[in-house]
Symmetry: none
Subunit: 237 residues, 2 copies
Amino acid sequence: METVDATGGGRELVRQRVIEAASDLLAREGRESVTTRAVASAAGVQPPAIYRHFGDMDELLEAVAEHGYAKFLAAKQVVPAPSDPVEDLRAGWDLAVEFGLENPALYALMYGEPRRGTSSAAFQAGMQILIGRIRRLAAAGWLRVDERLAAALIHATARGAVLTWLSQPEDQRDPALLTAMRESMVVAVTNEKPAVQGDGPASAARALRAALPDQTALSASETQLLGEWLDRLSADG
Amino acid sequence: METVDATGGGRELVRQRVIEAASDLLAREGRESVTTRAVASAAGVQPPAIYRHFGDMDELLEAVAEHGYAKFLAAKQVVPAPSDPVEDLRAGWDLAVEFGLENPALYALMYGEPRRGTSSAAFQAGMQILIGRIRRLAAAGWLRVDERLAAALIHATARGAVLTWLSQPEDQRDPALLTAMRESMVVAVTNEKPAVQGDGPASAARALRAALPDQTALSASETQLLGEWLDRLSADG
DNA sequence: ATTTGGACGGTATCAGTGATACTGGCAGTG
DNA sequence: CACTGCCAGTATCACTGATACCGTCCAAAT
């Protein structure tokens, strides 16, 4: 394999060329073809240069993941509709799954091995999108579970759906798997009806005020004070 | 590392020793420590012997997977209760998940990379258990979806649950993730009505929690304490 | 404009990996 | 005893990730 002649350009440019070369190799020939030499050759760079820009093969792969994820998000510009938070949840889940289906090798890299834990930048970026949607669900009274649990549920269903889908032979894949996973996620995460009518703190406070007698987590005196605060919040809006 | 002196024994015995040595290395030091030399040394065998018994490193790993899976199933002797097929479905799912949690490295090997598709023997063995339960569900009229889709759903939820669980730092793992995934799987697969919990105070609390930054009626310290209470109420449901 | 410092790229090379060719002895068979 | 076929063991291959070393070139300082 001859070296591509593409010298010149600043430091950042070399870095970008290496990342793109690695991404290309990963997408076209799989993880095991992404070797230092192959990447270096494809990027028109000497192998040791990789270690100067990224300290490590692992860091290069992480950079590739981040690059791929950012590129995907840039292509779709993701804008949640202002009206329907549950539909936005669906759209967010679909987005995460679509990323996996379009970038199987990259997805396997990011979410295949558990050891590449939640610390990765791309992982965090993906999670952040979900967190926003979850908060909007919560504000509208749709959230059935804890926010952290909701995030974990959404991620886990998407992860299982994508990896299972990719494991199946193409002629055995059933799109119903994806929609069924998504809908069961929606059922797990959201209420059938919003627990709050309007929006804003006042209506949420009114809803909680009404449901307060059913609660068991707080002591009597705590409940007393909470009630007063909820009254003030209810009157605020 | 010195060679273990454990010569002798028939051909099958050597094969078993190699598999056990590889399993041990995998469980204790992770995938990257399972090299031909390390395995050979630990098993008291020369590296080329591995290629005579298994044609390939990949085949060795597959044998390790099968071995580990069989061992796990033998430890629990899995006997479905004759009466309640839905409860058996839960137990089967729990079993699959428990295998993953107890053998993280092995699980990552089997279900981490999508390319190691559905052809693996251990994969098929695991699926076969589920198929049996699904058939019994169908016979009892509980099955909501196609049998194939049911199998895919059960597998995908378990896969996502395990890999997500293993990706989380130990101090952030919430067992509720596993039960929530399981129950949402049950809802998706069976006709059983979910034990719907009415909108308690928890959802309203979460709504108020999310809207709290927008509120102006309470002081900073009051808001602080209110936030803590809302967290407790949110977790109550 | 000259000097000087240091950062960068290129060559050569290391240790360790999966995998294999070849030989020598060992068993079992006649 | 001779023969044959199989298998363990040695040596080695091509390739991987990673690094030491050196020369050059650019840029800042004087």
